[in-house]
């Protein structure tokens, strides 16, 4: 490689990206430049090439790398349609430095404008990683690789300081006693969490703190809410449904009369890559299985006084699935239009309350209950989770929404 060791430069940029930066450049002999300029082929004319990491314009958290010192003719040749796109990664590329891994050029866009050549990585550079930009002058149009050298710049992006602040804020059902055929847990977090291999962070422990084997339905898709702050954790239905193999072979995940603990590990990382502030444990006792569908006709109401914003209250007489209870009940007025307001749950998801946006007016209302609301065991209105088939025929399972009228005076 021709050239002598260039100087070490330290650049300054916005604090979020500040870190160690090494720009190593090689000064390329001007004689090479002069000789090449004299030919008719695209000129490799340059005297000194510098690499510089610079912020991407109008973006807050991204860097690109710029080559300066290239002659105008060289840049023109690079803009030519004769310059195949497949040549770019050989001329100028950025690599993540990974021990033991073969270097793969990072995705991004090469840009040529008056005075400079740029590579804009398609993605932000990540904290804690080291990136190497390589400009191979020998790959320039009209240059032989024997006559020029490589210019390399290494950027170490500083590790982001860990801020372990995320916690589990709630696990539903919040009751201390759950049915043996409990269908699911919802785990709520204080901040968005990270996807991928989540089940290694969740354990169901028995009374002697031994993990229950494979209690959950482990889905690669992972059932997150769109904001990644709530995870739905189904108990493996094979260990709930009667007369299917997993239940026959190893029994239910939860056993009536026993105590268990749902444990969420503190090593789980949130969306920013930070560990949780602490582990979370939910101890609970298992009661008998619940095979009875919820029956809205047995629910108790408490009607609010008119001209107040006191909540309408419905007592389910049993805890219901928290997410569905908040979505599947609707208060409508006499014309069927929804009454604006906010539902919330109380008494360990046994009470549903509805706080109206405006004071109640006298009149007729209806509480519309969608039949797919579930209790803790997945029983729907009019249909248990498991339907016992009599005489080998399937029961009628077509269900309609329940409409419960009430009047405020």
């Amino acid at each position: 490689m021709i050239g002598r060791r260039g100087e070490l430069l330290l650049l300054i940029w916005r604090p979020a990206l500040a870190g160690f930066l090494f720009v190593l450049s090689w000064l390329v002999p001007t004689s090479l430049s002069a000789a090449a300029t004299a030919t008719t082929s695209p000129s490799p004319g340059f005297s000194a090439v510098f690499l510089r990491w610079v912020p991407v314009p109008r973006e807050t958290n991204r860097l690109m790398i710029e080559v300066s010192g290239l002659a105008r003719d060289t840049l023109t040749a690079l803009q030519s349609t004769n310059w195949p796109a497949t040549n770019w990664p050989h001329l100028f590329a950025v690599y993540v430095e990974q021990p033991g891994a073969q270097p793969v050029p990072m995705l991004g866009e090469h840009q040529v404008q008056a005075g400079w050549l740029r590579f804009v990585p398609a993605f932000p550079l990540e904290p804690g990683l080291r990136y190497r930009a390589v400009f191979d002058a020998g790959r320039l149009p009209g240059t032989s690789s024997a006559a020029a050298g490589k210019v390399t710049s290494v950027l170490q992006v500083p590790v982001r300081p860990e801020r372990a602040t995320t916690t589990v804020t709630q696990v539903y059902p919040s009751a201390d006693v759950v049915p043996e055929n409990l269908l699911k847990f919802y785990v709520h977090f204080s901040a968005p969490m990270s996807r991928g291999n989540i089940y290694e962070h969740i354990r169901l422990l028995n009374e002697v703190n031994q993990p229950v084997e494979l209690p959950f339905l482990e889905l690669a898709e992972e059932l997150w809410s769109p904001d990644m702050m709530r995870l739905t954790l189904f108990i493996d239905p094979g260990r709930i449904k009667r007369e299917v193999k997993p239940l026959e072979e190893v029994g239910p995940a939860l056993v009536n009369g026993r105590r268990f603990t749902l444990l969420i590990s503190g090593s789980w990382k949130d969306a920013n890559g930070n560990r949780m502030k602490q582990a979370f444990a939910k101890p609970f006792t298992v009661g008998p299985p619940d095979r009875d569908p919820p029956d809205p006709r047995r629910w108790a109401y408490q009607a609010p006084p008119i001209r107040t914003r006191e909540p309408l209250a419905v007592d389910f007489a049993e805890p219901m699935d928290s997410a569905l209870a908040l979505r599947m009940l609707h208060v409508v007025d006499a014309s069927g239009r929804p009454v604006p307001g906010q539902p919330f749950l109380a008494e360990r998801e046994r009470l549903w309350k509805f706080l109206p946006l405006h004071a109640w007016k006298a009149g007729r209302y209806t509480l519309v209950v969608e039949s797919i609301i579930e209790d803790l065991a997945g029983n729907n209105i009019g249909r248990p989770f498991e339907v016992e088939i009599s005489g080998g025929t399937s029961p009628q399972t077509e269900s309609v929404n329940t409409k419960l009228p009430f009047e405020l005076r």
Partner: protein, 369 residues
């Protein structure tokens, strides 16, 4: 392998799409940028059309990749593909999720749905594996595409404008497959246990939600429950298109595709019970030795090779199983350990993603067993 019971089934030449001309498949598509919020399961239709499930957008996007030139038969071996994808995307391997794998049958090219990052701001991408094993991002900036939205469920008895007239769909798409002129989509809700299997006509119509049915599992004639589908594959027995599906509670079932009618309730016929510790992950069907076989990747047993010969005439399993996997005969392909995803590469080979030591993922082609 146990000797399969012989049944006369004419299963040959059943995978060719029905006579829809090539031009029609892209009719109604528009050219422009495809923006994905997520890239879940992917599958190919005819003429290099790639279907991408975007669960976060509750939509399926069909993209005309233009990749329609038949490729030469080749061996694929990309060791540490998760590390290579990470390097290409400028990040660490633990920040890469390989969401799905699909082979374009028009070109025998392998495509990957990947996600860069694990948080709410993660970026989904589609990558193509080049013949030399290199990786290439599939640009979605200017492509012919069509989109089918999975609409929110209306609420009977509630009128008017605003959010409360329908329930926002919170559903993960667990599998996709194209069959003849329909895209089949299996979904699992993030909340209710009820789940849906949809058949969406393709090319997508203006209202593209298609037919949605509920799937049930009848256990031994005594109980029945709703049963989300984890993975499935369509195929034909004679002239009758069928669906083979693995439920989340592990039974392997079969039902005719013609059962997918508006407001239908489908109860699959249980043809095998896979048992505990055995979570179905992915499956394909293929022909070998004049017979049709099902390959099922699962979490514990390596890959199961199951004869489909006795499916047509089999009675549903009607009694509990005390030992061993009941129903259709199968053998475990021990050499295929660690396989998490698979697709058929060509008539003789499959391509698999398999996890090895230290969590490293390899992409490789393997002769169909």
């Amino acid at each position: 392998m146990k000797s399969p019971t012989l049944l006369a089934l004419s299963l040959a030449l059943t995978w060719l799409p029905i006579a829809t001309s090539a031009a029609n498949w892209t009719s109604g598509m528009t050219e422009g940028k495809v923006t994905l919020k997520s890239a879940g399961p992917i599958t190919f239709g005819p003429d290099g059309i790639l279907f991408i499930a975007d669960t976060k957008s509750a939509a399926i996007v069909a993209v005309a990749t233009g990749d329609t030139q038949p490729g030469a038969s080749k061996t694929i071996k990309v060791g540490g593909i998760n590390q290579k994808v990470a390097a290409l995307l400028g990040t660490a391997a633990d920040q890469i999720l390989l969401d799905d794998l699909a082979v374009n049958p028009a070109s025998q090219t392998v495509y990957l749905a990947v996600t860069r990052g694990r948080g709410a701001g993660a970026t989904p991408l589609i990558l193509r594996v080049k013949p030399d094993g290199g990786l290439q991002a599939v640009s979605l900036d200017k492509v012919k595409h069509a989109r089918a939205e999975l609409p929110d469920a209306p609420v009977d008895g509630v009128q008017g404008e605003g959010k409360r007239q329908s329930n926002p769909r919170l559903e993960s798409i667990t599998d996709l497959a194209f069959f003849e002129d329909r895209l089949l989509v299996a979904g699992l809700s993030n909340e209710e246990f009820a789940s849906a299997l949809r058949a969406i006509p393709f090319p997508f119509q203006k209202v593209a939600n298609g037919t949605s049915v509920e799937i049930y599992h009848g256990a031994h004639g005594k109980f029945e429950t709703r049963s989300p589908i984890r993975t499935f594959v369509p195929f034909k027995i004679g002239n009758e298109p069928q669906l083979l599906a693995a439920y989340t509670c592990t039974p392997l079932v079969q039902f005719p595709l013609s059962d997918i009618k508006p407001a239908a309730k489908i109860k699959g016929k249980t043809i095998a019970e896979l048992g505990n510790r055995n979570r179905p992950l992915d499956m394909i069907v293929y022909q070998k030795g004049g017979k049709d076989w099902l390959l099922l990747a699962n979490s514990s047993r390596g890959v199961m090779k199951i004869t489909t010969e006795d499916i047509a005439g089999a009675e549903s399993i009607t009694s509990p199983v005390s030992n061993g996997t009941k129903g259709s005969k199968y053998e475990t392909i021990e050499a295929w350990k660690g396989v998490e995803q698979l697709d058929k590469l060509d008539a003789l080979n499959a391509v698999v993603l398999r996890r090895g030591e230290g969590g490293v993922l390899d992409l490789e082609s393997l002769p169909l067993p």
